[in-house]
Structures are given as C-alpha cells and as structure tokens.
Subunit: 238 residues, 2 copies
C-alpha cells in the first residue's frame, strides 16, 4: 500500500516497545532478595501481569469505575505478594515497587527504530498504561515520542474503539491517517474496527516459554515487520 495517507504511527507499548517480562522479573528478584523470598521471578512477572486484562475488562464493561493501570497493578500486587509469602511491607516501599512498571527497558531496536520512524511520521504511544507511567517510562527507556498518548485520555481501554478514535482526534487526524503498531493481533483488530490502519511487529521473546506470541498477521493488516527497523525500511524511512 501507499504510505502517503499515513500521517501518524501510534504504538502499543507493553511488549511491543518494551520488554516488560524481563524488566519486571529482574526488579522482582531484587525485591525478593531484600525480603528473603525466593521464587521463579519470570512466573511472578506473569502472575503480576495476569491482573491487567481482567482489571481493564471490568472498567470497559462498566463493572468498575475508571481505574488507572497503576492502580490495577497495585491491586494485583497486593494479592500476589501474599501468595508468594512476602512479609508485611511498608506502604512507601510498595508504592515504589509498583512503579517497577514505569521502569521497563526497550527492545534493542526500540529507541533507534523509533527515531527512524519519527523522521517521516508523527509517532506517539497508544498504551493502556496511564500517562504518568508512560511519561516516566519514556524517560527511563529513552523513547523519542512526539506525544505520550494513552487510553487514559479516552476513558476506555483498548481494544474499545473509543481508545483509538480519541487518539486520532487528539492528533487532529482522521482514523484512516493513523496506523497502530503492535505485537498483538487483538490490539490491531481493535484498531481496524475503529478505522485505523494496522502493522504487526513481531516480538517472539515477549512471553518467554509461558505463552505463544503472535507471529502471523491477519489478512487485512497493512504491514508486517520483524522489528522497528524492518518497519522503517518498508515505510521508506531513512
């Protein structure tokens, strides 16, 4: 397809831009040592992450009031710390550890690949993570966004169409002028349902051995790339 109608690329962040599992596992292992707890910290990361989808689904279904991802993470953390046998921990330290999700490292191609894409397109995050989380991560992982946008600004979580449409509206663009870039087919399906274009970038290592990644695009996706440099090549970026 021609790239000329695409004005902006918006990116899923967890898994697509940053390696949340390794980053959380590493920080959790340090936290465990400090409190005398041993565990499979990759599994701990998966267990922590497991609260995320359910928490957002409740919000989108109207069963829960708007709740930012920091809060969803915190509620899940309180549950799994008990399951893993952690002792009672000071509130200040819990607040700080919950911000482990603000300190996630990019994939090796993230910063340099985004910089190439930025030379031709407006680039912005479009994550379910809240703005504070994304802003701190932007600084931590050196992500060169033109704008930090979030489902928080729509009041609905992806894959609800409002999350995508509000993002296009905030950028002053038609949905069809915006392409969603993600490593997850369900996110891209949501984007297409909302009128956006879709690019699958595969992240085969995202889930380790715990879950199969999406490695094949669906037939109506617009682009399919193995990383951000591959996408930049296909989109004609320098």
């Amino acid at each position: 397809m021609s790239t000329s109608s695409i004005k902006a690329l918006v990116f899923d962040v967890f898994g697509t831009v940053v390696d949340w599992r390794t980053s959380i596992s590493t920080q959790a292992a340090e936290f465990g040592v400090r409190h005398g707890v041993s565990a499979d910290w990759d599994k701990f990361a998966d267990d922590w992450r497991a609260g995320y989808g359910a928490g957002m689904a409740k919000v989108n279904a109207g069963e829960d009031e708007w709740k930012i991802v920091d809060q969803i993470h915190r509620e899940r953390l309180d549950v799994i710390l008990r399951e893993y046998g952690f002792p009672t921990i000071d509130e200040d330290e819990l607040v700080e550890f919950n911000k482990a999700w603000h300190r996630l490292s990019g994939w090796p191609d993230s910063t340099t690949g985004l910089a190439r894409l930025k030379s031709k397109f407006l680039i912005a995050s479009l994550s379910n993570g809240n703005v504070a989380l994304l802003t701190n991560m932007t600084k931590y992982a050196n992500l060169p966004w033109d704008a930090v946008l979030s489902a928080e600004l729509a009041g609905k979580y992806k894959p609800h169409p409002r999350a995508y449409q509000r993002t296009a509206e905030l950028l002053g663009l038609e949905p069809g002028e915006v392409m969603m870039v993600a490593a997850h087919n369900n996110d891209l399906r949501g984007a297409i349902n909302a009128g956006l274009k879709a690019a699958l970038v595969t992240r085969p290592e995202e889930f380790g051995d715990s879950k199969a990644p999406d490695l094949e695009p669906e037939p109506d996706f617009d682009y399919f790339a193995k990383d951000f440099h591959d996408l930049a090549d296909q989109l004609g970026c320098e």
Copy 2:
C-alpha cells in the same frame, strides 16, 4: 528554595517557549503576498491572537461548549481576513493557513535550555493549545518534551485551577511537586492558586511594541529567570 520537592516542570508555550508573534507575522506576510494583500503583519498577528483570550473565557464561563484552540483561531481568522480585505479563499488553504499556529519557532534558548532542564526534571508542556497543535509544534520547533500535556485534557483553560490540577494528576504528582514555568504573571498566579510552584521566565520581545511584557515576578513566585539557561543554572542542572 530547595529544588528537592520539585519533580516536574510544566511550561506555558505561546510566548514562553515559542515566539508566536514573529512566526505568525512571517507566515501571514507570505499568505498576503499570495493573495495580493498588503498590511502590517505584526499587527495582523496581534489581531489574530486577540480572539484567543475571549474564546477561552467563554468556554471557561460555560457560555460556549468545549472548543479547541484550533477552532478558536479559525473563527477569529475568518473575521480578520474580511477586515484585512482578503478575497474568498479555498477551504483547504484556510485549514492549512490556520495551522500556522502549529509552526511556531522557539526562542534561541528553548531547545537547548529545555534539554538541560530535562536532565534533572520531568518536563512537559502545559498550554491552552490543543494536543494536535502542540504535537505538531513539538516536531516543528524541536522541543524535547517528556510529555505533551494541554488544557484540552482537563476540559478547562488556564488559569482555571482544573487545568493545572489535572496536569499534576496525569503526571501522578501532587500539585506542589510541579512547577509552572511561564512568561506571564496571570498564568503563574493561576498555577499558585492550584497549588503548584511558579517560575517567571521573562520574554521581553514577545509582544514587540504592542504590549508590555511581564518583567517582574510577584512576591510569592518561587523562581525568576531571564531565560531557560538561567533557570537551569538556578535549579542546579548540568
């Protein structure tokens, strides 16, 4: 004062970070030549800008529904083009010319000074300009924001307290952990009323000869600097 409680700096943009008057005057002069109109283009810029405060005040007073600054600019443009004797112009060209406000140049210290401030603080815009306008300007003027925030995300224009408080909330900070940086005392007064800290950075050239700039801080402002490098020095940035 100690800088240790300040986590984020949020910046007024029009006048404080970018030289809107020269940028608009230059683009308007080119537009005038194209349509065979001669005028004092600095005055044209001032006249265009004059619709801004009144348009926002109506929104804050509830006399008008939420209206983004792009729309406020456009309504005023339609009025002044008639006043200046322009012929009928194609809609597409008007849409494009209205985006002159997305293409404003920074002051000489803006990009480098912001980069220094960014090394120690989270930095974000807090403008009444809409997100699309600010995002395009960020790219145009090479402004290294960690996040592009706007009164649009609060649904109230500065100096309404909600604009400042919503910004702190989106950054996950208490109002007192955020310092507003602006060249305008009324904006800083609004910030203080909302619980933020305040730094006046003077921009003596903002209004040319048409209006006196604010060159003296009020007694309860926290910082007073002549430009962003001076502010970076005072805040202990490298």
